[in-house]
């Protein structure tokens, strides 16, 4: 599993890092993003919806995304 530490970064930087990391992730694989920008709470699920990936969930500043058949 890839973990991206995006704490201290403002949106859209965590989403940009996620988009780049998902390219190197196999379908079914998980990318974990640590992000403390308030905008990440909405923008990471919105990115998953727009790009066709699965938003697994959030715990505190930790977001998990599973690569699905969606686009990169």
């Amino acid at each position: 599993m890839t973990t991206l530490d995006c704490r201290g970064q403002r949106c859209p930087l965590p989403v940009i890092a996620l988009a780049k990391a998902i390219r190197d992730t196999p379908v079914g694989g998980i990318v974990r993003v640590l992000a403390d920008d308030p905008a990440a709470a909405g923008d990471i699920p919105a990115w998953c919806r727009m790009k066709g990936h699965e938003f697994v969930g959030r715990s505190g500043v930790t977001f998990e995304v599973r690569r699905s058949g969606g686009t990169t």
């Binding site: 403002r10 949106c11 859209p12 989403v15 940009i16 988009a19 780049k20 920008d37 308030p38 905008a39 709470a41 909405g42 923008d43 699920p45 919105a46 990115w47 727009m50 790009k51």
Partner: protein, 389 residues
């Protein structure tokens, strides 16, 4: 960040010749605003509560402004009061209704997409209960009905149409739920007055003159007869509900006169602007990859459209558009003083970064919109290229 693609001679910032696309913040003054303001400055400067001739002239102008405003809103002249801004009028409405029902409780029910002035008023008053919206930005009516039906609700507040997404709210249905529960409803109609019919069923309603092309610094509050309303401010000895102190009669006259003029043009302008919004909605979705056009595509304000671009810094996009001569606003967190994303976009669950709100007015032409649509995809692509996407 430098935008090196600006050709020589192009406007370098949104100056006087810029294409102004931020009507939802303030519409450039209608010609009638200017005329009425200048005319009323001559006769409307004196204090309306004194007994000499100049004061009586100012009083007649103020009375005429009340009558004209009341007619435009479909209410009685003595139900109209003027406030220093739309935000002040909205807060006076919400808090005035709630203050009059202190014995019932301190709970204020409001939608999640109210103007921040209403959210702050609700939070300060006491126990604020927020009701969500769906992804297009429309109120969750069953949740609203349940919320206003609980005991201890002093008042409720609902925006007539979202100032950020443009989605028109089911005010009549929400008002009926309030009426069944015996809860007074304040409607913040700042974005819809002058464009859409005043919705039915409310106890108080507020509007903002600069949102329809009237002068800045004039808010309007109307409280229906028979509704209990207690001013949230200490007030003074003036005889009817209003902001404390002497206000600008010329500005009120200009507000009333411009609303009348705007309403006379509204049908034609709404059709024209709504077609331009449809054009923006479809062209942005077609020409900009990875974009989310938000808000209800049908039940919406005629003049406002919002979209969010993946991987784009909203502030960078605003500045790039400004350098090309387009003035727009954004709900992205990087453009907010709070560094939080727009609570409206958050409540809708849509992308908040790379957000642009385009709002049109009578001075915007189809060629203006087409020029905007022509430059936007390149600017978005440039910003994305800088981050390697």
């Amino acid at each position: 960040m430098e935008d090196t693609a600006v050709p020589a001679g192009a406007p370098t910032s949104a100056g006087p010749d810029a294409t102004y696309l931020d009507a939802a913040t303030a519409v450039p003054p209608h010609p009638v605003t200017r005329q009425a303001l200048l005319a009323a400055l001559e006769d409307g400067w004196a204090d309306t509560d004194r007994l000499y001739a100049s004061a009586r002239r100012a009083r007649r102008l103020l009375d005429a402004a009340h009558e004209s405003m009341a007619e435009s809103l479909g209410v009685r002249p003595d139900e109209v009061s003027f406030w220093p801004s739309g935000a002040a009028a909205a807060q006076a409405g919400v808090l005035g209704l709630a203050s009059a029902r202190a014995r019932t409780g301190t709970r204020l029910v409001h939608s999640a997409i109210e103007h921040s002035a209403v959210l702050h008023a609700a939070a300060r008053h006491g126990d604020a209960v927020e009701v969500g919206v769906d992804m297009p930005g429309r109120l969750d009516l069953p949740a609203w009905t349940a919320a206003v039906t609980t005991p201890g609700v002093a008042a409720a507040a609902l925006i007539s149409a979202s100032h950020e997404a443009g989605t028109v709210q089911p005010v009549a249905e929400a008002a009926a739920a309030c009426a069944d529960a015996g809860v007074p409803l304040h409607v913040d109609a700042a974005q819809s007055v002058g464009r859409l019919p005043v919705p039915p069923g409310w106890s108080s309603l507020s509007a903002s003159a600069r949102k329809w092309g009237g002068p800045a610094g004039v808010g309007v509050l109307t409280v229906r007869k028979g509704v209990r309303w207690v001013s949230p401010h200490p007030g003074d000895d003036r005889f009817r509900p209003r902001a404390t102190g002497a206000a600008s009669v010329p500005a009120m006259v200009a507000a009333a006169a411009s609303l009348r003029a705007v309403l006379a043009e509204a049908d034609v302008e709404n059709r024209r602007l709504s077609a331009l919004v449809d054009l923006i909605r479809s062209e942005v979705a077609r020409t900009v990859p990875d974009v989310e056009v938000v808000g209800d595509p049908v039940r919406r304000l005629p003049h406002l459209v919002t979209f969010s671009c993946l991987y784009v810094d909203g502030e960078a996009l605003l500045h790039a558009l400004d350098r090309r001569g387009f003035a727009v606003s954004s709900g992205s967190s990087c453009t907010a003083s709070t560094l939080r994303p727009s609570h409206v976009l958050e409540a809708m669950g849509v992308l908040s970064h790379g957000n642009v709100r385009v709002s049109l007015h009578r001075g915007v032409t189809e060629p203006d919109v087409r020029r905007f649509l022509a430059v936007l995809p390149g600017l978005v692509a440039e910003i994305r290229a800088e981050v390697g996407l």
